[in-house]
Amino acid sequence: MKQEKTSLLRNGAVQSLLASLLCIILGLVVGYIALLLINPAGANGAILAIVENFMTYSKSTAQLRYFGSTLVKTAPLLMCSLSVLFAYKVGLFNIGAAGQYVVGTGAALYCALGLKLPWFLCLIAAILAGAALGAVSGVLKAYCNVNEVISCIMLNWISLYAVNMLLTLVKEETSPYTFTLASTNEGAILPSLGLGALFSKNQYVGLAIPLAILTAVLVWVLLEKTKLGYELKATGCNKFAAKYCGMRERKNLILTMAIAGGLAGMGAAMLFLSGFEQWQCTQSAVPAMGFNGIAAAFLGGLNPIGAIFSSYFIQHITNGGAYVDKTMYSSQISDFISALIIYLCGFVLFFKTALNAWLNRRDEKKQAAAGKGGDGK
């Protein structure tokens, strides 16, 4: 019996899960302490509000409806986290998911509102735009040795300003927001597939959610079960070794960034083509979605299937932040908690090493004890 328990703890997936849970708990505890420091009176209520999110509503129809809204925003987050983790598996840190998400938004909304195209063409345009931006970072890395982190960050800002300029062409006269899809081009709204009805007629719930989950599975298959995935991962491990094995390491780098970019761009289309939000053309900061994708990717143990759950969790607490008592706290407290969780994810490697060292010591002790006890059995 004990033997089995040891082997369970040694299982990589179990260790990742434990590490992630630990990150979540520690993140929430530190967040709670911050709330206590700001105003002890409401801290309990606030942390509960963050964790409960839509469950604060007493009516089940309202709960379902807001559960649906959380899911609507989980889909793009999942796509961004897939983008980050895919690149990370190939040894690239795709901090540019944010920018690729932004150009995806630009392409999707311009095709929908400016060119009046149907939804699937908008979706494809978003994927292509994201992939193109990702490929730029890939080319710079492969041919000019520009660190992908720096080039991605620069591209994030460039794309933010460029998309603001582009979408100003399709914005409402009196507000900084783009036209709504419903009023301008209904054909660009992602089909609901009848899913909306399940969530107390939340019309924004639709194709995006199953599509995102399907993509997660496909990414897993691509990485773990195909030759291409193996080649990409080999390039990430050691690009020189990969080169000497006859792999085209430059092509692989560019392809990786293009796929990662495409994933993030697609995520943007999933949110903005649901009609849930409009783009604000005066936005002065790169949207947090891409950065939260980093949190979700690492919290999910860099596994596409894990990312489904971690993305949901991150979005759950981000939405939950909207329910804290605004007379005492700001909703950014949930950004603070998710940032803390990313920070704590940095310690996962240390946690696993320490856990393994502890297990080894325990096994040694057990063996020593068994040796001393002689053949008692």
Partner: protein, 313 residues
């Protein structure tokens, strides 16, 4: 034209300070992507100090205390990176990114809490420090001289001397090039890397303070520092991790950044009638183009980004 010069110099001071910070950290072997977050925290420290110091404080005391607050908070915050990256061998890019998210979020939460405690209706994330800021300014004719310009220049000279002319600096750089070799001759690699990260925290925090006092008299912390921490990293790479080159790179980048503030006042540029967004994009585009040309023969410290493990050879 004077305005352009003034903005160029003040933005150059910001970029120079922060890039020098990054330079120390990277020479010790730790990549500091988190400079953006560190700047926000330093700016927060300085802004709160300016807000809460009584109005009659003498200018010199004021300057010293405000700088001290920014530097101290910046160092404290950079310690989060130091501990994770040096003691716990964490992925430096990941932790740096976390700092970039953590800094602005923490600043907004804190500023809102302070604002709401003062006045329940005030839910903004803005700190106002108009009066206190004047301590930093001296008017020479129309030119608004800011003490930080001098401080940045001094920091440049000091960095050059420390890195190339002192035992400490040479040892620090050894830890970023080949930590195992450094360790074998008795240098404490961990301590050197902590020193590098802490210096970057101090300079980054100071840079953040300079940024928020450049031209404005209140700061909305929701805006963070608009990517200046990242621009500073580009400056550092363009400067090939050498203080003097970093100084020149900072001037170049600052010029392009300053253009977006003052282009309407320059007849030729105003006549081009480009949207202001184009000028906002300029520094980032320039830095990307520059990186394309200088990254091929990169002089980056060889061991940067790799956690030092005594047992490894």
């Amino acid at each position: 034209m004077i305005l352009l010069l003034q903005y160029t110099l003040i933005f150059a001071s910001v970029l120079l300070l922060v890039a020098l910070g990054g330079c120390f950290s990277e020479h010790s072997g730790v990549i500091n992507i988190g400079l953006e977050g560190i700047m926000v925290m330093g700016a927060l420290g300085g802004a709160l100090m300016m807000k809460f110091l009584p109005a009659g404080t003498p200018a010199l005391v004021m300057i010293l205390l405000v700088i001290l607050a920014a530097v101290a908070i910046g160092m404290l915050f950079s310690l989060l990176l130091g501990v994770a990256a040096i003691r716990f061998s964490a992925d430096q890019t990941l932790v740096g990114t976390a700092l970039n998210l953590l800094g602005p979020a923490a600043a907004v939460v804190l500023v809102r809490a302070i604002n709401m405690a003062e006045n329940a209706d005030n839910v903004s994330s803005t700190v106002v420090y108009g009066q206190a800021k004047k301590a930093f300014l001296v008017y020479i004719g129309k030119f608004e001289f800011n003490w930080f310009m001098l401080i940045a220049l001094l920091a440049l000279a000091a960095s050059y001397i420390v890195l190339y002319k002192t035992k400490f600096g040479l040892r620090l750089m050894a830890c970023g090039e080949h930590p195992q070799a450094a360790d074998s001759v008795g240098i404490n690699v961990y301590r050197m890397r902590y020193a590098g990260v802490l210096i970057s925290g101090a300079l980054g925090g100071l840079g953040g303070l300079v940024y928020i006092t450049a031209g404005v008299s209140e700061w909305k912390f929701e805006n963070g520092v608009a990517g200046f921490g990242f621009l500073a990293l580009a400056v550092m790479i363009f400067g090939q991790w050498k203080p003097v080159n970093i100084g020149l790179a900072a001037l170049l980048f600052a010029l392009f950044r300053a253009l977006s503030n003052v282009y309407t006042g320059i007849g030729l540029l105003d006549a081009l009638n480009l949207p202001s967004t184009v000028y906002n994009m300029f520094p980032y585009i320039i830095s990307l183009v520059v990186l394309v040309f200088v990254s091929k023969k990169s002089r980056a410290p060889k061991a940067e980004g790799i956690p030092y493990d005594k047992g490894q050879r």
